[in-house]
């Protein structure tokens, strides 16, 4: 059980009277890429927000690195989120006043990394995601797809043990989408990062090591428990 990095147990959540998630279990191990699939409105984003501690569940528990997470104070959750989670929002949340590279450096700067080191690391990530030539542009000067890749770079820049990504290829065509997926595979392979990848596209889900299927707030398919033993073949990374 020691390599379980993130776990949601019997998670339940409602908005007003509407039950959006019901008894959802999801356990994720280091180095796994789990695709969370399901039609629009099935509760995928809500599940990710609960796992990230951005929302508190009505019932159920969230465990991060073997410790209860959902009951921590707001401040403690933010601290741990910064250090241990990379989050890619479905609709982006980069800071519009900053340039692309300043946005990507942000987690490192907040963690106290020296400016020069942060910049160097940020440009490695921007390079990997194919947007390094836009590094010094302000957010308003890049396309939605470029901003989305910058958001992925920001989530990965401080090599957190867990990445939560909400439709991270939603604004991308097949080839730029593959840059994002390659970056996740690289992180999973090289750093043992656990990735929870929300998508409604099966083509994207085929990059994951396993998948779960949500319908109307319940898990109806896939494998919610981590696969035991050596994980299924992880997609190959370019040498």
């Amino acid at each position: 059980m020691s390599d379980l990095v993130l776990e949601g147990r019997r998670l339940r959540h409602s908005f007003g009277r509407t039950r959006v998630l019901d008894d959802v279990d999801l356990a994720v191990r280091a180095g796994e890429i789990v695709a969370v699939m399901g039609p629009s409105g099935s509760g995928k984003s809500t599940l990710l927000h609960l796992l990230a501690g951005l929302l508190r569940p009505d019932a159920g528990e969230v465990w991060l690195a073997g410790e209860r997470f959902d009951t921590l104070s707001e401040r403690r959750r933010s601290e741990r989120r910064l250090a241990e989670l990379g989050f890619v929002f479905q609709f982006g949340d980069l800071v519009p006043e900053l340039t692309v590279e300043e946005n990507v450096e942000l987690p490192l700067r907040l963690m106290g990394v020296h400016a020069r080191a942060a910049r160097a690391r940020a440009s490695v990530m921007l390079e990997r995601l194919g947007v390094v030539e836009h590094a010094s542009k302000r957010l308003g000067e890049v396309s939605g797809g470029q901003a989305q890749r910058a958001a992925v770079a920001r989530a990965l820049v401080h090599t957190p043990p867990v990445i939560l990504a909400d439709e991270p290829t939603g604004a991308l065509d097949t080839t730029t989408g593959e840059l994002v997926l390659e970056a996740f595979v690289h992180a999973a392979r090289e750093q043992g990062t656990a990735v929870v990848l929300v998508t409604h596209e099966l083509r994207v889900a085929s990059w994951a090591t396993r998948d779960v299927l949500l319908r109307d707030g319940r898990i109806v398919g896939g494998s919610a428990a981590p696969s035991s033993g050596p994980s299924e073949p992880l997609a190959e990374v370019a040498p």
Binding site: P39, E201, L202, A205, S206, A208, G221, P233, A235, E236
Partner: protein, 177 residues
């Protein structure tokens, strides 16, 4: 036509054509020598290819063929003229229809195929850096087709649920959708 396209690179003999065809396009279905030689004879008869000698030291099966001017014209035309788009239903479609008409659970048919198709897609994705550019294109092609089939499966699941709800709402007698 595939052989004609390979001949377009330069004159060669049947043995070499088979080898190159199998390497490029064979994919679990290699050409038979018989097919190669009968195709070459037909191309020659139709004036699309012509015999241009025998490879030094070779026997009768080492006859060298070259594409003709008419062959080049035909090849160009063939490459840019798509086959009629047929919309031929895939096996999964057939099975869903048969499950429905025989009063069985079509959702189970869909779910089983969804699983199998996604597993296959995962294998292809994992292999994406193996092989050369043609293998890569072949993989992309298959993934795109699986993706289309999977989209249809998702859509069919929703449609079947709608149908089931309508049947229940009207209280009419019907098979389980």
């Amino acid at each position: 036509m595939a052989l004609l396209a390979l001949l377009d690179e330069g004159p060669t003999h049947g043995f070499d054509l088979k080898r190159r065809y199998d390497a490029l396009l064979g994919h679990e279905r290699e050409l038979k020598y018989g097919q190669v030689y009968s195709t070459l004879q037909r191309l020659e008869r139709d004036g699309l290819a012509a015999g241009v000698g025998i490879e030094a030291g070779g026997g009768a099966d080492r006859k060298l063929y070259a594409i003709t001017a008419q062959g080049v014209t035909e090849l160009d035309q063939w490459l840019t003229t798509p086959d009629p788009v047929s919309g031929r239903p895939a096996e999964v479609f057939t099975r869903v229809v048969l499950a429905l008409v025989s009063g069985r659970d079509a959702d189970q048919v869909l779910e089983a195929h969804r699983r199998a198709f996604l597993d296959r897609m995962r294998v292809l994705t994992a292999r994406r850096h193996a092989g050369d550019v043609v293998d890569r294109l072949a993989g992309d092609y298959e993934v795109a087709h699986l993706d289309a089939d999977l989209r249809w499966i998702e859509l069919a699941s929703v449609r079947l649920k709608d149908i089931a709800e309508k049947v229940r709402a009207t209280g009419s007698k019907g098979t389980d959708a």
